[in-house]
Symmetry: D2
Subunit: 385 residues, 4 copies
């Protein structure tokens, strides 16, 4: 209702502003019995964290996660997992000129118009910094799925920055190459060109847009409810929640307008297991809003970061004067490279949520039937020692 | 949760399958005191109904709405508005070949894989026929907004079919021309070309994709919650709920990837009323997920209808055999022309819901303060006479 | 949000006023593959319907249910079940005196104060007539549970009217005797006294309060989430939603204040199957808000019907005058006898909802795994024939 | 859905177990512009905290709240308020005997049966310690209401322990006397007897049940939606969420069964402001599920604490043996005295939530209209300094 939570059975609620003292997330509805590896969560946070390369903000945040609840001897207990990530390197001073003079195309004005006030340091709640919480939640969802009977794989990479576009790559190439370069493009040569282009804009005090291709494999067929809780509906909501997203597509996306029914339609044949399978996957893994078992794939676009050192004009609603501004903080020149782990996190969360809702994974506990306590259970130590 | 409802304060829940005896929708959370014009609802249903032109299915549905509750003397009472639309011209016989042999790229297989069974006549619940309910709900939302203190206007038109694309049109042109032609394109010359193209595919026994441009004017600034209930999040969910949608964009959409921050950013100036306004609207009326007060606009794409007379191949899971099929029912050769009123309905609902949530429109009653009964109130007659 | 729906996975949304043309309910989230017996639904409606005895209103409603969707060949399809019950015997004339002069202790004034207006015939939306929808939804839930692998039984009876209180009865006595008498008390001698007492008040133009004892057997252990979605939380909400409920208790209820921990606590022993079971059931089947597997039982109280022929005083907010009123419609002299099927319905719905949420019953389909279409499936006829 | 959150517009989500390292709560949907006094929150936590008297557990928790987000210069910003309360004095050792041998009538077994495992130190998530989060959320709601245009007052006191029952007291007496004594009974002489009774049971190694009377004044009329979101429905859910609650009543409660309609009904008269008011308040401030503007009052019962030093019997599911146990931790001998602030907190939250939903208090900001930024706004310092 208030926009600070996502998910139905697997839910998370977040708090925190860019320059507050801590970011936090409560993961509610994680099944019990999952061995939760804190380092794996940390590894995902590290992929998103600032300062990891020259094309990310130089803000020095270690982004260390602390887990406060929901575990017994390293296993989830089915009760909420509270996590905190402290903010260590907030420098709000540079934002003082913008308190009553909104930065161009940022959320400054709309937040003030909605709430009458805002936490203005670093963009406050509107900052993409807040997605650190989402990545933590996604890393929990990922571990649940990895320990389930299903073999779901999710990967995203940057397929376009400015006018530099990557050729189609395989899922395996995505797994292999995405993390090799700073722009997170799975096509190494393109990655280099993207990097050069980004550097160029950064040097000019400007920024540039881009897009991400994502794919989920191994998602079983039959997930997604008709209509308003269809898989695409949830996916659309998830992706558009990421700050600065301006488009979401799946399957043929915008190109579908140019395809005829006959060319796009896919015949059915019997697969290896004797079940019907579609010949091809132009449908992007989704028919009638429900998964077919084929890979789910799509794209999303992010506009260029609005925080740029180039001179721009704004107005100060307190003084009533126009003024020139330069947003000289520590900012990313392009969003998709750091959005890759966020996109993946939202996919993990979305897929798991649908799996739980379909009873594919027991919502109460990963293993065993509800009602069966564990007779072998003998933890070595209480949680708090 | 189950996908059959949409909205938070202004909600609607639907039932009905393509070939069931009736479609139905319950609108819950409509403020009291709205003069509800049944004819206006009917007019919207007529825009969506089958058989309205040569490029829509010839199924003969009058789509007459009956209202069962929620009114007193023609005014809403704040209690749920139950509406029914009877199905009069369902002919399920033609669907018998597909009971155990899924139509290519339709929802037949996924519904059966999810539920083990399905209502197979006319595509059952997966049919776009079900959006008749949404249009009824949208027509209620529209009347609430029209009778409110706000001057919200919403309009959509078909801006692309196949490779025929309309040039940019003004909102006024949309209002004037959209309903003049069967394809619902606001640019008359393009409309003619679209119509020709559609006819051509229809003659070949094929179908074609297309897209819709939509715009909402007069939506006040400050609507939309941060993060997961941002305006784009709700918009994305709403649009992707419409069957066969493959992309949703707002503002610059996919093109945003090629714009630099400096070129896309918009300076602030003081508007006529002395308040800051952005210079331009490349942001599509949304900054930080919240409305700026500028027009909200975007696009969505629909793939070609999957029901085509051209021969295709499928498999029958009962007999274990391949077979050739022709989907020879009564089908639209292109979706966007009839999707225009559905898109508009989802926008009316979404905007109203945000207005109620922000307390912009009193959630309990359109006029007056909660707690004040109407001392002049003297209805001439009870509801049921 | 708006109070017109209940449930999470198994949900229902309702519409309709006492004197509107129809009542309606949409059941969303019913698993597919349930053989739905319309007569069983009707039988439950008949238990609740007016005019069934001398101590119920003489309003002549057949309360015939029509099902519009959600079925294929008599089996549920997992898509929403739309049901309508027409109102046939509404006579609003007698309510005209109360349009601007609220009946004592009724919802007339509060509805008008909230919404500024109201549907005033027969109490409109505030009328207990609306619970006909709940009973229809409950009858669906009951059939799902009856066809599941679980052996859940639910029964309620009237255990108190005025100062006449029934002794404790067994579940078997409830099953056997409750429906034998008009007051629905499972203790025949007490039933007679209750009946006499009720007649006496009815003759005086007055009414009387009462309470219901309810019990659910066979609910497996482990249901109910911690805290705000505990089983008692859901139960409390369900029961207090029934009009005129003034108390809800489970287990020892209000008496628990006088029990010591040692006397109330129940030791654990090993049951027949080797699992721990509590010795006794003073806990009412619920510990830590979660089911223990023991019968869940409790009580709820209904105040006396507010509509009485005895003279009372009210004020007319239009004329500004006091006036004497007699509510001379067709009214029940006591609520619990007709509330019994409503209480049972809310229990069926609540238990099923928890079963689905725990993955105990597959939320998508009663039989088989999601993803497995039915290879033997060959319906004889389409839904609409 | 998962039971870890409460509220619709004013929501809170919690995490934390009795012996985890911290408890935490995220308050989402608090309007902007509220001056949030941390000390007032602390004061409420102090009323609930352990070790405050001889009849509460001697666990030494300072229960100091830290606020991590949602503020700018001491005022709320409309974004989520994240709060943490560290656990300082958890001693899990004493719980080791119960890891596989459930304590009688506790949540040990049901949690294990639901989740297969549990956080067993101090009762983990099932511990009433978790209500510290609720009190923090309630203290925020209280401050919103206190700074609004409404004059809502909420108070509760212990009206019964064992067989010692307080006579009726006025709201003023509740305000004056409740906090004067350890048992939190507003009737001093009764308080003394309650204290003696409690001491007696504590000395015997036993515990005792009790009940709380609560009242809310100044709640405006017209709040509460029909049916499933009626005021009593929300109240019932709120109260039954508090651990160990076995009954909830409002107005005449269980006694309503013995009242006739004529005796319970209340005539209408014109009040001082010329509006209809009921003569009397046997209806407990609620008619048709909606507030009348009269005080809302009711009672709830808590069973005796289940943790008692007296010897009891349990079974160990690992060893398969019966064993005698004594729960010798630090426990309250009676629950209501410390439940008083929890009851009040749930009332503050519930009332505020209804006020926001009715648009009575602007959901986005306490002062001013949405869309109006604050031209005078000039904070002295960023949030994080």
């Amino acid at each position: 209702m208030n926009g600070n939570g996502f998910g139905r059975l697997f839910q998370f609620s977040t708090y925190g502003e860019s320059h507050g003292d801590a970011m936090g997330v409560v993961v509610s509805g994680c099944p019990a019995g999952v061995e939760l590896d804190e380092e794996k969560i940390q590894r995902e946070l590290d992929r998103r964290k600032p300062g990891q390369s020259m094309i990310t903000t130089s803000r020095g945040e270690p982004d260390e996660v602390s887990i406060h609840s929901g575990l017994q001897d390293g296993y989830t207990t089915g009760t909420p997992i509270g996590m905190t990530i402290e903010n260590k390197d907030a420098r709000s001073g540079k934002y003082e000129p913008f308190v009553t003079a909104p930065r161009p195309s940022h959320g400054d004005f709309t937040y003030s118009a909605k709430f009458g006030t805002r936490n203005w340091g670093g963009g406050g709640r509107s900052s993409a910094r807040e997605t650190v919480n989402w990545v933590a939640a996604g890393a929990v969802a990922q571990q649940v799925l990895e320990q389930s009977d299903y073999d779901v794989e999710i990967k995203a990479h940057v397929n376009k920055i400015g006018d530099v576009e990557a050729p189609e790559v395989t899922f395996e190439e995505m797994l292999e190459h995405t993390e090799e370069n700073d722009v997170r493009c799975a096509h190494p040569e393109t990655a280099e060109k993207m990097r050069e282009l980004t550097d160029e804009y950064q040097k000019k005090g400007d920024s540039i847009g881009g897009s991400i291709y994502f794919e989920a494999r191994g998602v079983p067929r039959g997930l997604g409810a008709p209509r308003f809780e269809s898989f695409p509906s949830r996916l659309g909501r998830a992706m558009f929640s990421i700050p600065a997203t301006t488009s979401v597509e799946y399957g043929l996306g915008t190109e579908a307008s140019e395809w005829t029914g006959h060319d796009r339609n896919e015949d059915w044949e019997f697969g290896e297991d004797g079940d019907p399978v579609p010949v091809g996957n132009k449908h992007g893994g989704l028919q009638g809003g429900i998964t077919t078992g084929q890979p789910i794939y799509g794209e999303a676009t992010w506009h260029a970061p609005t925080s740029i050192p180039k001179e721009q004009t704004t107005v100060d609603w307190e003084t009533g004067e126009e003024k020139n501004v330069q947003v000289v903080g520590r900012h990313d020149p392009v969003l998709p490279p750091r959005a890759v782990p966020v996109v993946e996190a939202m996919l993990w969360v979305t897929v798991l949520d649908f799996m739980l809702l379909a009873g594919r994974i027991n919502p109460d506990r990963l293993d065993g039937d509800v009602g069966e306590y564990d007779t072998d259970y003998h933890p070595s130590s209480p949680h708090n020692e």
